[in-house]
């Protein structure tokens, strides 16, 4: 039972869109920041992960990579477009009609075919440019949220907690969490609550420690307000009504989870982090490569990204459900494959599991993973790590929840 995955901050493009912006049924909505005289505008986009090549390639990539690729592809498309447009202008100057036998008749004929193919490809190119520009504005909106709320710091700390890095040092974990939740310039109310929940579920910190952290957070918020609440006239930050409601709900959620934990209904999710594919040296290369490219390019978005989000280029660990599905698919002994029920609708009556284990079973080519009572994009993305050419993994749930929605449901439960 993995309650950490739906709550954690994430680092991949699609999961961030779902977490930070208004995202429902493949439609994303956000308000652009007002700059100068421009009023903030409400923008709505429909995302199609299957038809949009940029989105399907980058939805599971870490956010900085998505920004970088977007910049590069847009540059490439713009260059090609200007080349075609200049060709069409030049083509008008040349006598490009077929059959004009002048001194360079051969060149005249080739430029006509070039022109024709260029003009044919122009609409597609413009379509692609429009899609890339849509992603640029979405990336910008996500970047604004990420920068305002310092999401990478929360992400980093939560990943460290969830992957067991603080297994033997819970005092250090507590102090780090305490430092971040009492810092009023970082994160909004929900970010802090989510960090505390991950701290509570992922470590063996005693209930008293958790309560201490919660109290410190609540005090800091009450006294100084959150980073996005307005300052009152006397210079002290004041918690707005919405933030207060969120804080109350968050506190209830934490109480509920503490209760569950004390009844030992949730196993503390410490396991050796098994990272997929990337080794630590590979990551260092990736990061330095990214920094180098960023310093060469002048785009504002990328420069801002390097500053804030380079910590999101880290290893991605397999979540609980990914590990279980992998064990089941590969039929590993002494794992969930032995414990899980085996129900086969094509066979009437009971299946003899012992006999089944002796037989060689054909490998599963298609897996449908279904979450009852709430799934999330982060889990979907994590599961795709074990999909390959021979095995496709489909993910579904009764409802797809963003972390804040899941948090509000937890808050209704104490």
């Amino acid at each position: 039972m993995d309650l950490i995955t739906p709550i954690q901050h994430s680092s991949t493009y699609q999961a961030l869109i779902d977490d930070l912006l208004l995202h429902r049924a493949n439609r994303v909505e956000f308000t652009t920041k007002s700059e100068g005289n421009k009023r903030p505008q409400l923008k709505k986009f429909d995302l199609d992960a299957d038809q949009d090549p940029f989105y399907s390639r980058h939805k599971f990539k870490p956010f900085p990579e998505a920004i970088e690729s977007n910049g590069l592809e847009l540059q490439d498309v713009t260059t090609r477009e200007t080349a075609i447009r200049s060709k069409t202008v030049a083509g008008g100057g040349d006598d490009a009609t077929a059959g004009s036998y002048q001194g360079d008749s051969f060149t005249g004929a080739t430029s006509a075919t070039d022109l024709a193919s260029a003009v044919d490809s122009l609409p597609k190119l413009l379509e692609r440019k429009k899609q890339l520009e849509m992603h640029t504005s979405i990336l910008q909106a996500v970047m604004n949220e990420v920068a305002a709320r310092d999401v990478p710091q929360f992400f980093e700390l939560e990943s460290a907690l969830a992957s067991g890095q603080y297994k033997n040092d819970s005092a250090k974990a507590k102090s780090q969490v305490m430092a971040l939740v009492t810092d009023t310039s970082k994160g909004n109310v929900e970010d802090k609550i989510r960090l505390v929940i991950v701290f509570c579920l992922a470590t063996t910190a005693p209930g008293s420690d958790v309560s201490e952290v919660v109290q410190a957070m609540a005090n800091a918020l009450e006294n100084q307000g959150s980073n996005d609440s307005g300052k009152a006239a006397d210079g002290q930050g004041v918690l707005s009504k919405e933030d207060r409601a969120k804080l109350d709900m968050g506190l209830k959620a934490i109480e509920y989870l503490k209760k569950l934990r004390s009844m030992q209904m949730i196993p503390t999710n410490i396991s050796d982090a098994e990272d997929y594919g990337s080794k630590s040296s590979g990551n260092a290369d990736l990061l330095s490569g990214f920094m180098a490219r960023a310093t060469n390019q002048a785009t504002g978005l990328l420069a801002k990204a390097t500053e804030k989000v380079s910590s999101m280029l880290g290893k991605i660990v397999k979540h609980h459900s990914t590990r279980v599905v992998e064990n089941l698919c590969e039929m590993r002994p002494n794992t969930e494959d032995d414990e899980y029920l085996y129900l086969d609708p094509k066979v009437k009556g009971d299946v003899d599991i012992k006999a089944l284990r002796q037989m060689t079973r054909a490998p599963y080519r298609e897996v449908i993973t279904f979450m009852i009572s709430g799934g999330c994009y982060a889990e979907y993305q994590n599961l795709q790590m074990i999909a390959n050419e021979r095995r496709s993994v489909t993910y579904g749930s009764t409802e797809l929840l963003s972390p804040c929605e899941f948090l509000s449901q937890l808050g209704k439960l104490s």
Binding site: N26, M265, L343, I368, I372, G374, S397, L413
Partner: protein, 285 residues
């Protein structure tokens, strides 16, 4: 569903192995597409009428232009005031509820459209079917109804490998609250089972089900759900082999019984904790 004649110029699922691609293609093939341009006699203009849950099923899959390519000139919500367009057929895609059936019967009585093709997102209950039949016969408009299908498309397919059921909101909070009753759980789980049946059916292959066997407390919930799904699928398998016409739409737009050369595995998990208070009362030590 949108080609009103029965020939199968459907969109095939283009040989992809993912089941939700089959699902996406399933809904497209149930809104079958002809290669001939819309407006010709093969693919005549039609009106699509849906209710709110079915709108959320269609909208991630087909845009307005794609609907137009399939011959749909106008798409309307069933609950809105609609004018008569007597020379155009209407395709309904709704959930099989009493209110929807009443509205369809009223539309038929008023003869708003030329012919009516009704498609339900899930199975129509026998009692509702009989009520509907009575209403239609009483109004004398039986000739209006050209076809009636159960489409088993009760899920929202967001991407090739991602789907969600259009079930109740706040399900985690509702199912884990302290006052939850057995009846609530049973209803919820049977809704989920039917939704999954649609998914599995549209993907066209019969999966093996693996699920956690949580020792003491969750047996009731788990086993009920999985066995009911198992039971649903067994009975549906029997129906299909007997060629019962329930409008079973497969992702490949072809054979009804799929011999699974590729085994599918359906794996369940629940983020909810194992304590539901009622099972504790029944099964506690």
């Amino acid at each position: 569903m949108l080609s009103l004649n029965n020939d199968t110029h459907g969109i095939s699922s283009s040989g992809t192995t993912s089941s939700a691609a089959g699902a996406g293609a399933g809904i497209s093939s149930s809104i079958m597409y002809n290669d001939t341009p819309a407006g010709t006699s093969y693919n005549q203009w039609k009106i699509l009428i849906y209710d709110v849950p079915c709108r959320s099923i269609i909208s991630p899959l087909l845009s307005v232009s794609q609907l137009r390519a399939r011959g749909v000139t106008l798409h309307l919500l069933i609950g809105t005031e609609r004018e008569a367009i007597p020379d155009v057929p209407a395709v309904y895609f709704v959930k099989p509820t009493r209110e929807n059936l009443k509205m369809i019967a009223q539309d038929c009585a008023k003869r708003l459209y030329s012919k009516v093709h009704i498609n339900f997102a899930t199975k129509l209950d026998r009692s509702l079917m009989e009520e509907f039949g009575k209403l239609v016969v009483q109004n004398g408009c039986l000739d209006m109804i050209a076809s009636l299908h159960d489409q088993y498309l009760d899920f929202v397919c967001l991407e090739r490998n991602l789907f969600s059921l259009c079930n109740q909101k706040d399900s985690y909070a509702l199912m884990n609250r302290s006052g939850v009753t057995d009846v609530d759980m049973d209803n919820y789980l049977s809704d989920v089972a039917y939704g999954l049946l649609s998914v599995v059916g549209t993907s066209g292959s019969v999966p093996v089900i693996r699920c956690a066997k949580v020792r003491m407390f969750c047996c009731y919930c788990c086993c009920f759900f999985f066995l009911s799904l198992d039971g649903c699928m067994q009975s549906l398998l029997t129906c299909v082999t007997m060629s019962c016409t329930t409008g079973w739409s497969t992702g490949n737009g072809g054979t009804k019984t799929q011999q699974t050369h590729r085994r599918t595995s359906l794996y369940f998990d629940q983020p909810q904790n194992a304590t539901q208070s009622s099972p504790i009362c029944h099964f506690g030590p």
